[in-house]
Amino acid sequence: MGVFADKATAGAAGWPEGAEEASHTRRRRSRGWAWRVAIRCSTVFGLLVLTTLLYNVVNSTWGYVVVRDQLSDQLIVLLERSHITHAERRVDALKEVAGNPNAVVVLTPNLVPAVPDGYRTVPIGDQHAKLALIALVSEDNEFLLELDETLLLKLLPEGSRWSDLVSSWPAESVSLVLVVDEDGILSRWAARQDLPTLDSLGAAELLSVLETHLSAGLIRRYGRDEPMAERSRANLLSLVEERVKEPEVLATFNLRESLVQPAEIKAFADVEGAVASFHSWLTPGFLVRPQSANAAISGIRTALLGSLWVIAITICFSVPLGIGAAIYLEEFSTRNWFGRIVETNINNLAGVPSIIYGMLGLVIFVRALTQITSGSLFGTVSADEASGRTILSAGLTLGLLILPVIIINGQEAIRAVPDSLREAAYGVGCTRWQCVRWHVLPMAVPAILTGAILAVSRALGETAPLVVIGAATFISVDPTSPFAKFTVLPIQIYQWTARPQAEFRNIAAAAILVLLALLLVTNATAVLLRNRAESQRM
């Protein structure tokens, strides 16, 4: 307060002085410091949340996973390409070879029964090693006593005859039954073979694999969805993976755990038949495989296609309508009661929770307009099978949801067109539509589209309304028309997140990454469009 010439007077009026002033200044400073810290911390918090969120997703998408397959790839191929019959019951195996002196049953040592009459045992390989096998050979047989590991391995390729192995043996086709109870042993044994990979099998071979391992009833059921013979190789391959290979996830570790807890991973990997490997849940295969009940082989193909279908319908429905309404409100409507009501109404609609739109969609599109949304009106399904829970209903519901956003963004874009341009146009005697068509729209279109894309990207991530109108819980058939049942990416994420098993969290994370990437692409398009429009403006 030194500016006051008469400091005494000022002090007398209650101004702090000396030590008092100093402490006041100190308090003022420390208060200021505290506030500044609070402000900075809050700001950092915003950045931190985004980072954490992304970290959390990435963390779950990659990491070690311990998997045990019911049958390994190699074993499946081995069984397909060889004469081995994979019989799980010893009795059956013995029955199969009974009466054929040149047949052999190979078992793991622990499975060897009391040697039946007329048979003797032939040890194969080092009997103390893990890979030891024992062959049961008929006493009437002469040559099979010479069977050893090297010969057994050679034996396997298709079309073999005994004479192919040793020229002195009879030229009789091989009959061999392999009996195992632990796949691990056979798998390791199979691993020593030079076999083609499962992926390289042709459709016919895959079909034969399925027929070997699945019950006839199950095959019939699959055949009803889509005839087996008409299925694509990729489809058959995924069936083999799901039904024959049946990978079972024993444990998953996220990225952080994978880096800091190698001991625990090892402990899990020691389980018989388990394989621990660093796994990316997000793979090209994840994108193209259909949904499955097994997390290890489930993909997002159906959900991704569903999302694209739904969004396409949403765009076709809401973008033209929204732009039209924005034009009407800005260029045609006089500020009369109708214009005002529509304006207020749109602002209120923008604040209605999305789940309410879901209920609206359920009542209107799914139930009241079943005939249209199920396609029964157009003859795609019969009336009594008609269900309105289709892609069309979903698209229209999301369309209604984002309509207010598109309108509000559109209005802003149109308002940004200077009035002088409209005056110039009207000045030469054009009509309202001519003015809109030739002057307002060309100038406003980039901004309108930017707003529309942002609104559409919101629809892309919406979940609640689609759950309400009834997305299918489990579907693995590609949607082929607007009248198909559907699921979408966010719903897939929701369902997987809700599962208790850890591996579903992992694929949920991978699906989130795909969804975020999709949104990034749409938003980047919007930003690019905006920038280009700004730089092109004359």
Partner: protein, 332 residues
């Protein structure tokens, strides 16, 4: 140059009133009229949507309340929501919704306001260039992703902090905190707009008296923008109340019922936010996501909840706009 360009086109002469009247007469412009009508229809769709929402909620809710098993007084006062035993008291659901929303606001309001102060009063161009897109990205992330975040990240942290026995796997607190993050961008951007609308003259007046930048911001600018900030707060509240996926994933799958007001409020049990509880939106989404038959009591009850939810959010939004409007009038 003495001839009008294209003068041969000029029609009519002077004083030919009838001819002029004809010339100026309204033209039939079918295309123009068609476009006008089509665009009018586009505008009218939004009205139809509102009518649709009000009608379907009202109609189905009416069906619900008309049923003999349902009493409106019970709906409005009871603390038990158990459709299996025909008990339809809305309070467990409302309690969970309010709990999650209040936690969300407790996080989003101070943080959002401080970030807004930073953006509007402190940040230089570079900081804004970084921070604004971050907030936009946060605002653009789908809510189901936030739900995943709540369940797999926030909940484990809460359980580590407060003990596994105290914090259930599904709990209101985790969902509420993440809803707070979700509405943070809303609070921030609306508050920042309000702060920026405060005239520079007011800031200059304060600085001219020897106030620091901070004193100016906190004691002058913020109070002047208070109604705009309140509007932001209320809009965020309305979004929090209507938020669905986060609570559906992280808050629990069953209403937390109580025998009555005494039990609910007596031991403040209803206020325990570390327990699982189902909100209004969570209940709607869970029941409708399952196998539900149309025209059942369960189905109708959803619309009663929906109607209440709609009225709550609509009320908040209208309230917020009324506040914001008063604010605008003061400075324009």
């Amino acid at each position: 140059m003495s001839v009008k360009p294209g003068a041969e086109l000029l029609t009519g002469g002077l004083g030919m009133e009838v001819g002029v009247r004809k010339e100026l007469a309204r033209r039939r412009r079918p295309f123009e009229q068609f476009m006008h009508g089509a665009l009018w229809l586009c505008g009218a769709i939004s009205i139809l949507t509102t009518i649709g929402i009000v009608y379907m909620l009202g109609q189905e809710a009416l069906l619900f309340f008309r049923r003999p098993e349902v009493r409106l007084t019970e709906f409005l006062t009871s603390w038990t929501w158990q459709p299996q035993t025909l008990q339809f008291g809305i309070w467990p659901l409302v309690n969970a919704t309010m709990g999650a929303s209040l936690i969300a606001m407790a996080l989003a309001l101070p943080l959002g306001l401080l970030i807004a102060i930073y953006l509007s009063e402190y940040a230089d161009a570079r900081a804004r260039r970084i921070l604004k897109p971050v907030l936009e990205v946060l605002a653009g992330i789908p809510t189901v992703v936030y739900g995943y975040f709540a369940l797999t990240f926030v909940t484990p942290i809460l359980r580590n902090l407060f003990g596994i026995e105290v914090v259930e796997i599904f709990n209101i607190a985790s969902a509420g905190l993440v809803i707070g993050v979700l509405v943070l961008p809303t609070v921030t951007s609306m508050s920042e707009d309000a702060l920026r609308a405060v005239p520079v003259a007011l800031r200059e007046a304060a600085v001219g008296l020897g106030a620091t930048r901070l004193e100016t911001s906190v004691r002058v600018v913020v109070p002047a923008a208070l109604s705009g900030i309140s509007a932001a707060f209320i809009v965020a509240m309305s979004r929090a109340v209507g938020e669905t996926m986060i609570v559906a994933v992280a808050a629990g799958a069953g209403p937390r019922n109580f025998a009555g007001w005494g039990e609910a409020l007596g031991g403040l049990k209803a206020l325990n936010l570390f327990q699982s509880a189902e909100t209004m939106t969570g209940h709607i989404v869970r029941i409708s996501g399952g196998d539900i038959s149309y025209d059942s009591l369960d189905y109708d009850s959803l619309f009663a909840i929906g109607l209440l939810l709609f009225l709550m959010t609509l009320g908040l939004n209208i309230f917020s706009r009324a506040i914001a409007r008063r604010f605008r009038e003061r400075y324009d």
